[in-house]
Subunit: 195 residues, 3 copies
C-alpha cells in the first residue's frame, strides 16, 4: 500500500521542539524515575524542589503526588496551593499553566501535543493548556491541546475537554459541556440562585 | 483573585479520616511498593495475606493482581472467589465492599472520596461503594463515591457509574444506564425471555 | 446466595490458552519488568529485539515506548514504522495485528480477551484485533475484542471502539462512530471534497 495517510519514515522532530538538549531531557526522566517517583508521599517539598531544579515554576504550598508524570518540567507552571493528584500526566510538549488553588485530580491527562492528520509526514505540534485558578478537574479528566478552562470551573469525573470552557461553571461529559453555574458558599446570595 | 471557589490553604484533613495513624499508612504504602507490587502474578496467596495483615477482609480464593493499588486496606472487604484485575485502583478513603464471585476487571477505578465544591475550604469526605456478589465490572469502569451496584449486574467496558444500579442487569455508558436484563444459563427459562 | 450468574470457583483456563508454557509466560513478565520497562526511551532497537526474542513480529523502524505493556508478545505483530505510545497496553490474550505506519497513541488499550457472561463458569475467550496500516488511534482509545479498524482511519482521543470501523474515516465517541472522511494532502483533490 502506497501511503496516502501516514508515512512515518518521513517524520522528523522540529528543531528544539523540546526546548532543551536531548541529554537534559533524558536526565530529567532518570531523575523522575529514581528520585521523584519513589519518594514517600509526604515529601511534597522535595518534589517541588526537583521540578523547580528542572525549570518548572511551582508556587508555595503546591501538593504534587509521587505518581505524577511530567514530560518537560521547563514548560510547566503551577500556582500556589494547587494540587496535582495521583497518576496525573502533565504531557507538556507545549506549555501547561495551572492556576493557584486549582485541583487536578487523579488520572487526569493534560495533553498539549498532537499531529496534523492531513499531512502524511505526520508533523508534530503543541498547543498550550491553561487551567484557571481554583478550577477542579475531577478524576480521569482528559484535556486536549490548546484548551483554556476558566477560573473556578469544575469539570466532572471522566469528562473529556476538547474546547475552551468558561469560568465559574460546572461542566460534564465527553465532550464536556456546561451543566450549570458553580455555586459557592462565599459568593453573594443572588449568584447562588442559578440552577 | 480573592478566592470565591477554592482556598486550599484553608484545607484540613478531618481527624482520623484515614482510620489509622500516619506512620501506619506510610508503612502500608512501603509494603505495597516493595512486597505487593513486585510479586510474581501467581503468588495470589501472598497478596491476600498482605492485605489481611493490614486489616482487609479477603475471602478464600480471591484473585488479586500485583498491579492493583489499595489506598487503605483496612477499609476493604472482598468476598470469596472474587477477582480484582490489573491496574485496578481501590481508592478506599471510605469503605469498599466487593461481593463474592464478583469480577472487577482491569483499569477499573473505585472512587470513594470527594470534596464539597460549594465550600471554599474544599472539605474532603468519603462515601462507601458496594459491588454486589457476582457482578462483573468490565475494563476501565469508573464507580463514583456512594454507589451500590446490585448483585449479578454487568457493567460494560469504559462505563462510568455515578448512581446506584439495580441487580441482575446489563448496564452501559457514561452515565451507566440499564440496557437489558442479564441472561444466565442457570436461571429458569422464563427469566431468559427478557430482551 | 446460590450463584445464578457467576460461580468463579468453577472457572478453568482452557488448555494452551496462552500459547506458551507457564514458566515461559512468567519469564516474559520478568524480562518485561527488569529489561524492557526500565530501558531509556531512546533504546527503541533494544525493545524491538526483546519483543522479537519472545516471538513478536516487529517490523523495522517500529517505535515502542518503555511503558508499553504486552501480555503475550508471541501473539503480536507490528508493521514497519508503526508507533506504540506511552502506557499503551497490548492485552494480547488473542492476536493483535498493527499495520505499518500505524500510530497507537498513549494510554490506548487493545483488549482481545473477554468472558461469556451467560455461563456461570465464566469461560474466557479471545478474539483478534486488527489495526490497519496508517491508522491513528489517538490518546486513551479503547478497542474491544474482535474489532477490525480499516486502513488509514483516525480514531479520536478517548473514543471506545466496540465494532469494526471502515477504512479512511475519522471516527469519534463511545461507541465510536464515523464522523467524516479522513482528508489527506496526498490524495486526489476530488477525494478531499467530502465534508
Amino acid at each position: 500500500m502506497t501511503p496516502p495517510y501516514q508515512d512515518l519514515s518521513r517524520f522528523t522532530m522540529p528543531e528544539n521542539f523540546r526546548g532543551r538538549p536531548g541529554w537534559y531531557v533524558q536526565l530529567w526522566w532518570v531523575v523522575e524515575a529514581l528520585l521523584f517517583r519513589p519518594s514517600p508521599q509526604f515529601l511534597y517539598g522535595w518534589r517541588r524542589w526537583l521540578l523547580r531544579a528542572f525549570g518548572a515554576t511551582v508556587g508555595p504550598g503546591v501538593v504534587i503526588r509521587p505518581t505524577v508524570r511530567t514530560q518537560f518540567p521547563w514548560k510547566v507552571s503551577i500556582g500556589e496551593h494547587a494540587w496535582i493528584g495521583d497518576d496525573v500526566v502533565l504531557y507538556s510538549l507545549g506549555e501547561i499553566h495551572i492556576g493557584p488553588h486549582a485541583v487536578v485530580s487523579q488520572k487526569t491527562y493534560l495533553c498539549t501535543g498532537s499531529h496534523d492528520p492531513e499531512d502524511p509526514s505526520f508533523p508534530i505540534f503543541s498547543l498550550p493548556i491553561y487551567v484557571g485558578a481554583q478550577c477542579w478537574l475531577a478524576t480521569d479528566v482528559y484535556v486536549a491541546p490548546g484548551v483554556t478552562i476558566g477560573a473556578g470551573t469544575l469539570v466532572g469525573a471522566r469528562s473529556s475537554v476538547f474546547k475552551d470552557l468558561p469560568a465559574g461553571k460546572v461542566c460534564m461529559g465527553s465532550p464536556a459541556r456546561v451543566v450549570k453555574d458553580r455555586v459557592t458558599g462565599s459568593v453573594p446570595a443572588e449568584k447562588n440562585e442559578h440552577p
